[in-house]
Each structure stands twice: as C-alpha cells, then as structure tokens.
C-alpha cells in the first residue's frame, strides 16, 4: 500500500514459494503442537488451570502499580538493584551504563524476547560490547545475522543441513556435517569459551514475584544459569507485565508454561534468583515500552496476560505456513498480530488480516488471551482509522449496498450467475481473480435457492 506499511500476504509469498520447506516447517511445528496436546491432556484440571492463570493475570494487571512497587521493595531488600525504563531506548541506555560502569566489553545473554523488542544487541555492539546469545537457537540466528523467527524456537525455520553449513563457516566444524548431536557439541564447546570470557550475563525473565522480589527464568539448556553464575554481574530485563503476586502463583504458571510451549511437564531448568550471588551484583531492569498504554487500552489490555509460551504460534495454521519473518514484527503469529498494530498500526495494519479466524489460538492459550477476537476487533480499528487499502474498503461498501436491498441482491445474483456461466475461461481466470489462481470457481447454477423454493411451493399450492 505505502512505503511504511508491510503486507503479510506479500511477505508470505517469499516463504510459500518453497513448498517442501513450508511442509517441513508446518510439520515441525505441528509435532510440537501434538506434544503439547499430549502433555495438556495428561492434566485433568487443565481448563481450571487456564482459568486460574487468566484470573491471576487479570487481577495483577488491574493492580500492577502496587505489585510493581512491592516487587521493587522486596528485590532491593534481597540486595538487587532495580532500574525503571520507560521505553526501549532508556532500557538500552541503562544496560549500557551498567556494563560501562563495570568495564564490561564481553556479554553473554540467555533468551529474552524483551531485548529483541528493544533491539539491544545492535545497540550494545555499536558501543563496543561483544554480545553472544547463548541459547542454541538464538546463537544460530545470531550467527546468520537474523532475528528469531519464533519466540520459543528461534531457529525453527532453519534446517540442520543449513546449521551444518553455518557452523562449518563460523565454528570450523566438518564440512557437510548434519548430525544434530555433533553440531550441538560443537556449539557447546564454542559457547563454553564465551561463557568463560564473559564479564557479565544478561537474562530475560519469565516471572517476577512481588511478594518475594525474586525473578524466575525458565530454560532448557541451562545457559541462563551458567551465564549468570560465572560472571559476577547479572542483568535481568523484565517487562512489567511479568509480575505475579505470590510465589504460590508459580505453581499455576509453571505447570502451564512448559506444557504449552514444548509439551514438557516442566522446563529442564527453572531458576529462581533471589538477590545477587555472593560477591556479585544483580541488576533488574523493569521495562514499560508501551505496556502501560496497552494496559489502559479498553479493547486490547488482555494481550498483556501473555506469558510468551509460543503455543498460539505452533497451532496457527497461517504461521506454520508463512513463517515467522512474514510478520515483519519481533513477535510473530497470533499474539504478534495483536501486539504489532499496538506498536504501529500503520506499519502492521495487515497482520490482523493474516488470520482465517479459526480460533485455535484462543483455545490453546494457557492464559486465555482472546486472540482471534482481538484480531477481529483490530480489523474494525484498522478500518476506523482509515488504514485499510481503499480498494478493499470500497468493495465492502459496494457489497453492503447491494445486500441492503432484496431486489438489488436478487438481480445482482442473477446477473453474476448468468455472466459466469457464459464468460469464456480466460475472462474468468486471470490475474484479477485471486480465487481462481489456485482454485476453480463453483459451478454457478441457473436458479437460486429462493427460485427453486418458490417454484416448489408454487407447485404444491
């Protein structure tokens, strides 16, 4: 439409052009979805857990300022240092300042979608800090200079052959190697060095507990633990929506998170950080970056309940076939399509339309974000703000005008059915007909239902 907006359908074309890859991508993610189903179905009270989690989140968001203050107080008491960042820029500057104060020029990071959202890596690199992502998937995309394509499985779009090639170039592994075990070992050796050299570790946070001041980080590789215990300095970056009131609430969320994300009963490592390690420092950066605005939004505030489990991506039939990059937003998939326009409605106007409204995301979400309803609500907003391409807008106006009058509707129907029956194929199937690019049109019948019905009743009477 215009230079500042991205069009999901166009971006998707790049991914869908390679059909075997689409199929492979779809199946890899469906495999995760199936694992999730098995894990969820093993928990009898699953639906109750979802409801409870949703209630806790609703409650917490309603009283967020109080819980944030309580969290700060308790975190300080435990000896952590707490920083508040209004936006991405302030967050990045705070992190840089902490690093500079400690003379850090080598940083290891574990997974954090928040720092992706803030574009922290390029910012730090510009200021002379070497940043190494230590989550295997994140490291792979980092070595390829790509962003993650999924919020839990950052390199899900990359095949093992491609990883082999990449590692051969970057880490000196055997050419043509594809054995996942061999490649993982190589990455482990490479990362081990980075861990040892690092002067600071940065992690994301899954939950921050108000009543204790502790932060909880869930990983499967233990990289967050190594990265925050070898160096003396740990920076934990937290979106303000990650607060939960009580430690007991973790019993609800931890059961839901890993099952929803990967189908594991629990992540391999669930690390609780209560204050700094002895002789070290723990800095907690609480980041708003638009969250307060979303919280105040009457229509979309529930999107803040999200715990970033990725289940809605895995189940989304569009995401699985269009790939993470087609969304052109840090967070792809259903939740990204709600959050994207909240960040920039003009740029991301097409995301709420990248959805068949199947509703699978809404049913799978462990915290009951009403995802497909929010996407539909967004469409209304897009139109209200005049962001829908004018041709589509006009089409709908015309269709609505026809449908508002029975005779107009009947005549238009008759005319269309007649025309389609008589039109030669080249007139029906051309580049103007998006339906017909890959599908036959239905066979247009001579008589409509209402005509048949009238005839029949006429005869009966």
């Amino acid at each position: 439409m215009n230079a500042t907006s991205c069009n999901h359908a166009k971006e998707a074309d790049r991914f869908t052009a390679d059909q075997p890859r689409v199929q492979w991508h779809d199946q890899a993610l469906w495999f995760v979805r199936a694992k999730r189903d098995t894990a969820a179905h093993a928990v009898e009270e699953w639906e109750q857990l979802r409801e409870t989690a949703s209630q806790i989140k609703r409650h917490t968001l309603a009283r967020l300022p109080e819980y944030l203050e309580q969290f700060e107080e308790n975190a300080l008491r435990l000896g952590a240092q707490v920083h508040w960042a209004r936006d991405a820029d302030e967050h990045n500057r705070i992190v840089l300042r902490i690093l500079q104060q400690h003379g850090v020029h080598k940083l290891v990071k574990s997974k954090s979608m928040l720092t992706e959202e803030c574009h922290l890596n390029p910012f730090l690199e510009q200021h002379g800090v070497e940043v190494v992502d230590t989550d295997l998937g994140e490291r792979i995309v980092q070595l390829r200079s790509q962003p993650p394509s999924h919020i839990v499985l950052p390199a899900i779009h990359i095949k093992k052959e491609e990883v082999g090639q990449l590692f051969h170039q970057c880490l000196g592994t055997e050419p043509g190697a594809t054995d996942p075990k061999y490649l993982t070992e190589a990455a482990r050796g490479h990362l081990r060095e980075k861990f040892l050299e690092a002067q600071a570790g940065l992690s994301g946070v899954n939950f921050a507990v108000a009543e204790t001041g502790g932060v909880i980080v869930c990983t499967n590789e233990g990289n967050a633990d190594l990265g925050t215990s070898l160096p003396r300095l740990h920076i934990a970056c937290v979106g303000i929506e990650k607060i939960v009131p009580r430690a007991a609430d973790l019993a609800v969320f931890l059961r839901l998170l890993a099952r929803s994300a990967t189908g594991q009963p629990i992540t391999s490592y669930t690390s609780h950080f209560h204050g700094p390690i002895s002789g070290g420092e723990l800095h907690i950066v609480l980041v708003d970056n638009g969250r307060s605005r979303i919280r105040a939004d009457r229509q979309f505030w529930e999107s803040l309940k999200c715990i970033r489990c990725g289940a809605c991506l895995n189940t989304c039939p569009v995401y699985r076939r269009s790939g993470g990059y087609s969304y052109q937003h840090t967070i792809p998939g259903p939740i990204g399509s709600v959050l994207g326009p909240l960040k920039d409605a003009k740029k991301n106007y097409s995301l709420p339309y990248a959805c068949s409204l199947c509703g699978s995301c809404t049913d799978i979400c462990p915290v009951k974000v009403p995802l497909h309803h929010q996407l539909l609500t967004w469409r209304g907003e897009i139109v209200r703000r005049g962001l829908l391409p004018w041709r589509k807008w006009l089409e709908m106006k015309a269709v609505s005008w026809v449908l508002r009058n029975r005779r107009r509707y009947q005549w238009s129907g008759k005319l269309a059915r007649w025309a389609v029956r008589w039109m030669p194929r080249w007139m029906l199937y051309n580049r103007l007909n998006d339906w017909g690019k890959s599908r036959e049109l239905p066979e247009f019948p001579r008589k409509s239902f209402r005509e048949l019905y009238r005839n029949r009743n006429g005869r009966n009477q």
Partner: protein, 258 residues
Amino acid sequence: MQVGLFIPCYIDQLFPDVGMATVEVLEKLGVQVDFPIEQTCCGQPMANTGCIEDTRPLAERFLAIFRDYPYVVCPSGSCVSMVRHHYEAYLAGRPGFEELKRKTMELCEFLVQVLGVERIDARFPHRVGLHNSCHGHRELRLGAASELVIRPYNKVRKLLESVDGIQLTELDRPDECCGFGGTFAVNEQAVSTLMGMDRLQDHQQAGSEVITAADMSCLMHLDGLIRRNGKPLRVMHVAQIFAGRPLPGSPQATSLAK
C-alpha cells in the same frame, strides 16, 4: 413447530440444493419451514473485514426479518455464529435481540438440541470425512475442540454416524482450518491454498471419498482445489447427506440428473 429458515447468501446463489436439502430434512421431521424472502446476507464479509458501519444495516435487517420466529435455523455454523457472537456490537439492547441470539441455531444443533434427533433416516454407503468448520466448531461449540481438555463430543459427527451405511474416516488433524476464512481466501491466497491442500491430503490418506461439513463455504474452497487438481474427492454439505442425496458423480446421481 415453525422455524424461520435462514439461508446464507452464498448458499442461496451458489448452492441452492443445500438449501433445498435443509428444507427437506426439517420437513421430514415435521417442522414447518418458512423462508422469509426479504433476507439477503448476515453481513459477515463486511464484519470480518472490519467494516462495522457497512455491517450495521444488515444486522438491523436481520433482526427485523427474523425476530418473530420461535426458532431461526441455518445450514451454516459461521453465519449463525455471526448472529450469536458478533451482532452484539450492532444490536445490543435492541428489543428482541437477546431472544434472537438464543433461538438462532445451526442445523445440526437444532436437530440435536431442540428436536432431540438421535437417528437420521437416510442411507449413504460411502467413506466420509468430516471437516469440522471452525466457527461452528470453536464458536458454536458443535464439537469439542482438540485444544481443549474436555470430554470429547461432536454433534455433527454423532448425526452422521447414525446414517445408514456410512463409514466415517479418521483424520490426522481432525479440526485444522481449511484456509477459507472469507476474504482471507483471496487476501492470503497462497497460504489459504496451502492450508486447503493439506486438508485434502489428510482426507486422502484417511481414505475419504467425500468431505462433508456443516459449512458450505469451507467446502466451496476445498472443492475448488479438488477440481483444479483433479483429486479423487467430492464435497457434500451434511444436509445433503441427511436428505439422502446420492454421491455426486455416482451412477445413481447421474440417473437422477437425467
């Protein structure tokens, strides 16, 4: 019992036999069917594009046309869901709207819940794959969605199972979206097509001869792909199976056509 028959615009114009089959099924069960001729469309295409102001007059028409019927029955889960779940924005507080929401029902739902039908008196000796159309499945809850941890049930499937001679096939992904999605089918043509092709593949591996659904729109999309790609599959709306229609293209059907 009298019902107002709500036939979605695309069924009226493109699939008249689905409407006729619906009438026959209801009448056979003793229901008095009335088709108010003023009806056109529920407004879903506009609503799903976000064109709220272009939907409003259609919602208002719908209420005026159907408000006096004891029940409104429709052979499309998606259009029923539009009335029940999405008219709120246009009609909240209007006299008759709360009742309209309660009494507007999808065909299978009406058969099971209101008429208490347990057996369909029809014969269809074929291998049939049920496509659980999303809006009927996840908004009207015609069946238990695979995402939810609840007791399994499926009203459409239950009725189909009672048809004489029918063999229902088992899919790998029993409730994945077919990719129709209204204007999605053209806005996101490539992804929509891939989704549909995957459904066809699943039905083929399961051995379906016929794909059926409670929504003709999904079937229109799937049939378009079937015919373009020469797949050995057919589509039929559930009402057509319930009404005893033969398999399209079968010798029986051809002799009827003559």
